[in-house]
C-alpha cells in the first residue's frame, strides 16, 4: 500500500453527516452502466436493500455514484459485497454453461463431417 497516494482511487464511500452506515453512496471509479446496471440489479434482488440506484455524474467523468440504502441497519457494504459476489457467481455459471455448450456444439459439428 506504499503507492496508495499516487494510485488512482478505485472505490470511495461517501456518507451524509449523521447518516448511518446503511445509507452510503459508493463512488466507483472508471466504471459505467456495464457494471453499474448489472450490479444494481443484483443488489435490488436483496431483501435487505430498501433502495439501490446509480448515476453517471457527468458525461466527461468516468465514474459512477452508486447509492445503497438498507433496511434494519444493515451496513451498506454488506449488500454491495454480496451483490458483487453473486454477480461474479452468475458470470461464472454463464461462462461454464457457455463453454460446455460451445464444446458440445463443436463436437456435434465435427461428427457429421466424419
Amino acid at each position: 500500500m506504499a503507492g496508495e497516494g499516487e494510485k488512482k482511487a478505485v472505490l470511495e464511500m461517501v456518507q451524509a453527516d449523521g447518516a448511518d452506515e446503511g445509507c452510503v453512496t459508493f463512488v466507483l471509479h472508471d466504471e459505467d452502466h456495464t457494471l453499474g446496471n448489472s450490479l444494481r440489479y443484483m443488489i435490488m434482488k436483496n431483501v435487505d436493500v430498501e433502495f439501490c440506484g446509480y448515476t453517471i455524474t457527468h458525461p466527461s467523468e468516468s465514474k459512477i455514484n452508486f447509492r445503497i440504502q438498507t433496511r434494519g441497519g444493515v451496513p451498506a457494504t454488506e449488500p454491495l459485497r454480496r451483490g458483487l459476489n453473486e454477480l461474479n457467481d452468475v458470470c461464472q455459471h454463464v461462462l461454464n454453461t457457455f463453454q460446455a455448450k460451445v464444446n458440445k456444439f463443436k463436437e456435434g459439428q465435427e461428427k457429421p463431417m466424419e
Binding site: 459505467d32 452502466h33 456495464t34 446496471n37 458525461p59
Partner: protein, 996 residues
C-alpha cells in the same frame, strides 16, 4: 452529358406507370437543354457575344479620333480583337497560360486586346495592325478560354476540374463571379404613377452612341415632354409640330380616335393653339429657346432652330432612328406613349416596375461591355488630349500617336472592376425563388430558375390538346439522332419570355391539358434553382425551411472539384469521406452533385436522449466518429513574396538559426529546411516560423550625394504560423507573380474530427450543433444490431413542419434495404406508399418506426423509434475556430480598455443591456468592478480648488499642491475630460469629503 444519359436510363416504376398520354421521359429534354444552355451558359454566352461582337460595335461607335490642333490628323480604328490568354515570360515573349497557373501564381487570367489602326504621321498615312491597347480578363470556358472544346483528359492535364461550369474570372489569383444585375428594360415604355398619383410614361433609350431618358407627364390634363436637355417641360403638341406633323387631325389620328382619348388630348391641342404655334418652323423656334445651352467648341455655329431639330432627331427617344429628319417613326412612337398614358389614366393600369417582363437581367458580358465602353472612350479622349497638346509644339520627330498608347489604363480598369465592388466568389450563381441574395445590405429576391435562358424558358408546344413531343422524339434524343436545337427547329419546343407567358395557357402535367392549352411544362421541378434542387421532397416542406436550406447548403463541407488537391486556396474545407445521398433528385444528377458530394448518409434515430439534445442539439455516436463520420480537412495557406527594391536591395530567406550550445535549430526554426522555408509533412505549432524572411532596413533610393552603403542591413520579418491548434504542411510552392517578385505559398492542413459544438445540418434547413458524444455501447440498437450515428430530438419537427425530412428517411431506409437510390425530386419522386411497401417486404415496420433496445439498461424502449438514414451535411462553423476566453490580455492604446474580438484576444463586453440588469439588481460593486477595475481603472490627481486634473500631486492651474487629491476613474473618462478641454469646454470635478 453522354454519361448522364446512361445514368438516367433506370426509371422509377411510378414514372413508367404514368397516365396514358404521357411522354414519360420528356424530362430527358433537360440534359439536352443544359448541354446547349447550361447553368452558367448564359454568362458565358453573353461574355462571348461581348468579346466577339459587342466590342467591335463599341469600337465602331468610337472609331475616329481627331484633334482640334490639326485638322489633318486623325486616328481610325479598323478592327479590334481579343486574343487568347497568355502571360509575359520576359520582355515581348509571351506564352499561353492555363487558369490553374493563374490561380496558383496570383495572376489575372487575361488576354491582350489588340487593334488595327489607321492614322497620320505628318503627311503620311500609316496602317498598323495588332497593336495592343490593354488586357481583358477572360471568363473560364468562354470562346477565348483555353478550356473550350477540351476533353476531360485534357482538363486533368491542365489541372482543371471537368465538372467546373466556368463562367467566372480569375483576377489576381482570386476566382470572381459577376452577379446578374436586374435593370428596368431599355427602350420600353413604362407607364407609372408618380408620388402625387399622376400618371406618366418614361422611356430609357439606349443605343451604342447615345443614352437618354424621355419622360411624358401630365399637368392639369395637358401632356408635356420632359427631357434633361430642355430647360422646361415642352407641350407635347408642339413637339409633334416640331417633328413636322402640323395638322391637329393627324396628331389625334395617331393617338387614337376613341371618344375619351380625343377628349383627354384636347386640352393639349388647345394649349398649342394658345401659344400660337401652327407650323414646324414656329414649333422649332419655340423649342430652340428652351434648349439648354451646351458648350460646344469649334464646329459651325448652329441657329437655335437647327439646334432644336437636332435635339428632336438625336436626343429625344434616341433609339427610334431618324434619317434625314424624317420623323415619321418617332412621331408614331411618341403618339403611342401618349396613348398609353391616356389609357392608363382611366383604369389605373400602370406597369409594375418589379414585374420581370419589364426588366432585363444584365449578365457579365453586358456589364463588362459597359465598363469597356467607358474605358475605351476615356482611352480615346486621353489620346486626343495628348494629340492636342503635342501637335502644336514643333519637334524634330513627328507626332506618332502609337508611342502614346498606354496599355495599363484599360487593363487596370477591367481588373479593378472585377476584383472589387459588386462581385463575389460563388460556384452556382443562378438562383431560384427559394434563394435570397443579400446584396449591398438590402435583400433582393432573385428569380432565376434552374432551367432558364435569361428569362426565357423552353416549353413543349401543345396543338389541339396534344403535346407535339412524342415518345419517338425522346427516343431519338436519347439515341443521339436528335438534339435540342432540332426540337426548336421542328417546332416541338419553343422558348417563352415572361411577357409571352402571360398570354399562354401552360399546363403543368399532361392530364391538365384542355382545348385551350398552348404549351406544356417540360418538368415542374425546373422551377427550382440549383440550391433548392438538392433538397429531397421540397414540396412537402414548409417553404421557409427550403429557403434556409438554400443558404445553408452553401456552407456544407464536401468536395470542391476534381482539382481540389492541386489548389492553394485561402480557406478550403473538405470532407474526408463524402458520400452520395441515398435519396437523390433529378437536379442532383443534372448538376453532378453525386460526383462532388457534400455530406454523408447518417443513420438517424429520432428520439430524446440524455437532455444534451435540447434546442436542436444532436447526439453523436463516438464509434461513428472513430470510424470517420464527419471527419474533415481544413486547408489554409500562408503567402510571402520576396521583392526587389528601388535601391537594388532585395528580400532574403535565411536558413534556420542554430542554438549556440546544442548546434540544433532553435524551437521556432525547428521545421525549416536549409533554405529557410518549412518542409512539407512537418507539424507546425503556434508561433513557429514558416518562412524565415528578412528584409533590408533601407529600401528607398538613397538621396543623391549620400554615401553609397556597403553591405545592406537586414531585419527579420518571418512569416510565422498563428493558430491555437497545430497544422501540417501539405505543400510548398515557389514561383513568381506578375510583378516578377518571388512568390512562396504554403498550404497548411488540419484534420478535424467532430467535437461538441460542431454544426451539422440535414438538407431541410434543420441545423443543429453536436451536444454530446456517446459511446456506441450506450446507444440504442434495433433488432438487427444497428445503432444510430446521430440521435435527433423529435421536438425539431412539429414547429418546423419539415415533412420532407421524414419522407427522406423512409425513402433512404427502403433504398438501403433494396440496394438502390430513391428519388425525392420536387413535385415527384418516389411515393411514400411504394417506399413503405418496400419496408414491409424486408420485414420492417410500415411507418419506419423500429422496436429499439436501450443500450444503457438493455431493456426495450417504450416507444417505437423513427430510425433510418438521412443525408447530413457538416457545416463549416466549428468550435475550434470560434472558442475564445480571456482573463488578462491586450488593451487598446487610446482608451486602455480591453481589445475587441477573438482575433485580437479581446475581452467579452459587458454591454448596455447587461449593465442595465446589474443596475436593476442593484449590484453596484459588481458594476464598478466590471466597468472600471477589470477594464481601465486609472489614478488621477484632481485639484479640489479648480476641479481640473493635475499631475503627480501638483495642480498646474492653481500652481499648488494643497487641494490635490487622488481619484480612481476609468481612463476613458479621463480621456473624455481632456478631449472636451481640447474643444474649449472645461469639465470641472467637484470634490467633497466622503463622510461630509
Amino acid at each position: 452529358m453522354e454519361v448522364l444519359g446512361g445514368e438516367f436510363s433506370d426509371m422509377s416504376p411510378q414514372e413508367l406507370a404514368a397516365p396514358v398520354n404521357t411522354v414519360a421521359e420528356k424530362w430527358k429534354l433537360l440534359p439536352a437543354f443544359l448541354k446547349v444552355k447550361g447553368l452558367v451558359k448564359q454568362h458565358i454566352d453573353s461574355f462571348n457575344y461581348f468579346i466577339n461582337v459587342e466590342i467591335k460595335k463599341i469600337m465602331k461607335a468610337n472609331e475616329k479620333i481627331t484633334s482640334d490642333a490639326d485638322p489633318m490628323w486623325y486616328l481610325k480604328y479598323l478592327n479590334i480583337y481579343v486574343g487568347m490568354p497568355d502571360v509575359e515570360e520576359s520582355f515581348n515573349v509571351t506564352r499561353p497560360v492555363s487558369p490553374h497557373e493563374c490561380r496558383l501564381r496570383d495572376m489575372t487570367y487575361s488576354a491582350p486586346i489588340t487593334v488595327d489602326i489607321e492614322y497620320t504621321r505628318g503627311s503620311q498615312r500609316i496602317i498598323r495592325n495588332a497593336l495592343p491597347i490593354g488586357r481583358m480578363p477572360i471568363m473560364l470556358r468562354s470562346s477565348n478560354c483555353v478550356l473550350t472544346g477540351k476533353t476531360p483528359m485534357e482538363f486533368s492535364k491542365l489541372n482543371e476540374c471537368p465538372l467546373d461550369p466556368g463562367g467566372y474570372f480569375i483576377v489576381k489569383g482570386q476566382e470572381k463571379v459577376i452577379l446578374i444585375q436586374e435593370q428596368l428594360s431599355k427602350n420600353r415604355i413604362i407607364v407609372e404613377q408618380d408620388r402625387k398619383g399622376a400618371v406618366g410614361a418614361s422611356v430609357t433609350s439606349s443605343t451604342h452612341e447615345k443614352k437618354s431618358r424621355t419622360n411624358m407627364i401630365v399637368k392639369q390634363g395637358r401632356f408635356y415632354l420632359r427631357h434633361n436637355t430642355l430647360s422646361e417641360d415642352a407641350p407635347i403638341a408642339i413637339i409633334f409640330k416640331g417633328m413636322g406633323v402640323e395638322s391637329d387631325q393627324e396628331i389625334v389620328q395617331m393617338i387614337g380616335t376613341e371618344e375619351h382619348v380625343m377628349a383627354s388630348f384636347a386640352p393639349s391641342l388647345e394649349e398649342c393653339q394658345k401659344a400660337q404655334i401652327f407650323t414646324q418652323t414656329q414649333a422649332l423656334r419655340y423649342l430652340g429657346n428652351k434648349v439648354r445651352r451646351q458648350r460646344m467648341w469649334g464646329g459651325p455655329k448652329k441657329t437655335k432652330m437647327e439646334e432644336a431639330r437636332e435635339l428632336l432627331a438625336s436626343l429625344i427617344l434616341t433609339h427610334v432612328p431618324v434619317k434625314e429628319f424624317n420623323f415619321r417613326a418617332k412621331c408614331i412612337y411618341l403618339a403611342v406613349m401618349v396613348r398609353r398614358v391616356i389609357l392608363a389614366q382611366g383604369d389605373n393600369k400602370v406597369d409594375d416596375r418589379d414585374y420581370y417582363g419589364n426588366k432585363r437581367l444584365e449578365l457579365a458580358g453586358q456589364l463588362l461591355s459597359l465598363l469597356f465602353e467607358d474605358l475605351f472612350k476615356k482611352f480615346n479622349s486621353e489620346l486626343k488630349k495628348i494629340a492636342d497638346q503635342i501637335i502644336p509644339k514643333q519637334r524634330a520627330a513627328q507626332f506618332d500617336v502609337v508611342k502614346h498608347m498606354r496599355q495599363d489604363q484599360i487593363t487596370n480598369g477591367m481588373v479593378n472592376a472585377i476584383s472589387t465592388s459588386t462581385l463575389r466568389v460563388s460556384f452556382h450563381p443562378s438562383l431560384c425563388f427559394n434563394d435570397k441574395v443579400e446584396e449591398r445590405g438590402s435583400s433582393v429576391v432573385e428569380l432565376l430558375r434552374f432551367v432558364m435562358f435569361v428569362s426565357r424558358r423552353p416549353y413543349i408546344i401543345v396543338k389541339k390538346a396534344v403535346p407535339m413531343v412524342k415518345n419517338k422524339h425522346i427516343e431519338d434524343l436519347s439515341q443521339g439522332y436528335r438534339t435540342f436545337e432540332d426540337f426548336l427547329h421542328e417546332g416541338l419546343v419553343e422558348y417563352l419570355d415572361v411577357n409571352e407567358e402571360n398570354d399562354c395557357q401552360i399546363a403543368l402535367y399532361e392530364y391538365m391539358i384542355n382545348k385551350d392549352t398552348t404549351h406544356l411544362e417540360i418538368e415542374p421541378f425546373t422551377l427550382l434553382g440549383v440550391c433548392a434542387g438538392l433538397i429531397p421532397y421540397p414540396h412537402h416542406n414548409q417553404s421557409p425551411r427550403n429557403t434556409y436550406q438554400c443558404a445553408m447548403g452553401k456552407q456544407a463541407m464536401g468536395t470542391i472539384g476534381y482539382n481540389q488537391r492541386n489548389r492553394i486556396d485561402t480557406l478550403m474545407y473538405l470532407l474526408a469521406y463524402p458520400q452520395r445521398p441515398m435519396v437523390k433528385t433529378k437536379t442532383i444528377e443534372l448538376i453532378d452533385f453525386e460526383k462532388l458530394p457534400a455530406g454523408q448518409n447518417a443513420t438517424v434515430a429520432v428520439m430524446s436522449y440524455s437532455g444534451y439534445d435540447i434546442e436542436d442539439a444532436l447526439v453523436l455516436n463516438k464509434a461513428s466518429l472513430d470510424r470517420g463520420f464527419g471527419r474533415c480537412l481544413v486547408y489554409k495557406n500562408a503567402k510571402c513574396t520576396l521583392r526587389r527594391y528601388t535601391n537594388q536591395t532585395f528580400d532574403k530567406v535565411m536558413g534556420p538559426m542554430l542554438d549556440a550550445a546544442t548546434r540544433k535549430p532553435i524551437w521556432r526554426h525547428n521545421i525549416l529546411d536549409a533554405d529557410g522555408i518549412c518542409s512539407p509533412g512537418e507539424r507546425v505549432e503556434n508561433k513557429q516560423v514558416l518562412v524565415n524572411k528578412s528584409m533590408p532596413t533601407v529600401t528607398q533610393t538613397p538621396l543623391e550625394g549620400s554615401t553609397q552603403p556597403g553591405q545592406p542591413q537586414y531585419r527579420d520579418v518571418p512569416i510565422s504560423y498563428k493558430g491555437s491548434t497545430d497544422s501540417y504542411i501539405e505543400k510548398v510552392m515557389i514561383s513568381s507573380n506578375a510583378e516578377d517578385a518571388f512568390l512562396i505559398k504554403i498550404l497548411l492542413r488540419q484534420t478535424r474530427r467532430p467535437e461538441i459544438g460542431d454544426k451539422f445540418s440535414s438538407r431541410h434547413g434543420q441545423k443543429g450543433v453536436c451536444g454530446l458524444i456517446v459511446p456506441q455501447e450506450d446507444m440504442p440498437f434495433c433488432d438487427t444490431g444497428i445503432c444510430p450515428d446521430i440521435i435527433m430530438n423529435p421536438h425539431g419537427y412539429p414547429s418546423r413542419m419539415t415533412v420532407g425530412k421524414l419522407i427522406e428517411l423512409l425513402a433512404g431506409k427502403a433504398g438501403v434495404l433494396d440496394g438502390r437510390f430513391h428519388y425525392g425530386t420536387a413535385f415527384g419522386g418516389s411515393k411514400v406508399k411504394d417506399v413503405c411497401e418496400d419496408l414491409i417486404r424486408y420485414g420492417y415496420n410500415y411507418q419506419g418506426k423500429d422496436y429499439v433496445t436501450s443500450g444503457i439498461t438493455g431493456e426495450p424502449l417504450e416507444a417505437y423509434i423513427y430510425f433510418g438514414p438521412v443525408y447530413y451535411q457538416k457545416l463549416k462553423h466549428m468550435v475550434l475556430d470560434k472558442m475564445h476566453a480571456r482573463a488578462r490580455g491586450p488593451r487598446a492604446v487610446l482608451t486602455r480598455q480591453p481589445t475587441e474580438g477573438r482575433s485580437r484576444d479581446g475581452g467579452l463586453r459587458l454591454g448596455e443591456m447587461e449593465r442595465d440588469c446589474l443596475i436593476g439588481y442593484g449590484a453596484s460593486m459588481l458594476l464598478l468592478e466590471r466597468l472600471m477595475i477589470s477594464s481601465d481603472a486609472f489614478e488621477v490627481d484632481v485639484c479640489g480648488q479648480c476641479g481640473l486634473l493635475g499631475y503627480s500631486g501638483w495642480c498646474h492651474y492653481c500652481k499648488s499642491s494643497c487641494h490635490v487629491s487622488s481619484l480612481r476613474i476609468p481612463y476613458a473618462c479621463k480621456l473624455l475630460f481632456q478631449e472636451l478641454q481640447s474643444m474649449n469646454i472645461i469639465p470641472r470635478l467637484k470634490l467633497s469629503r466622503y463622510n461630509e
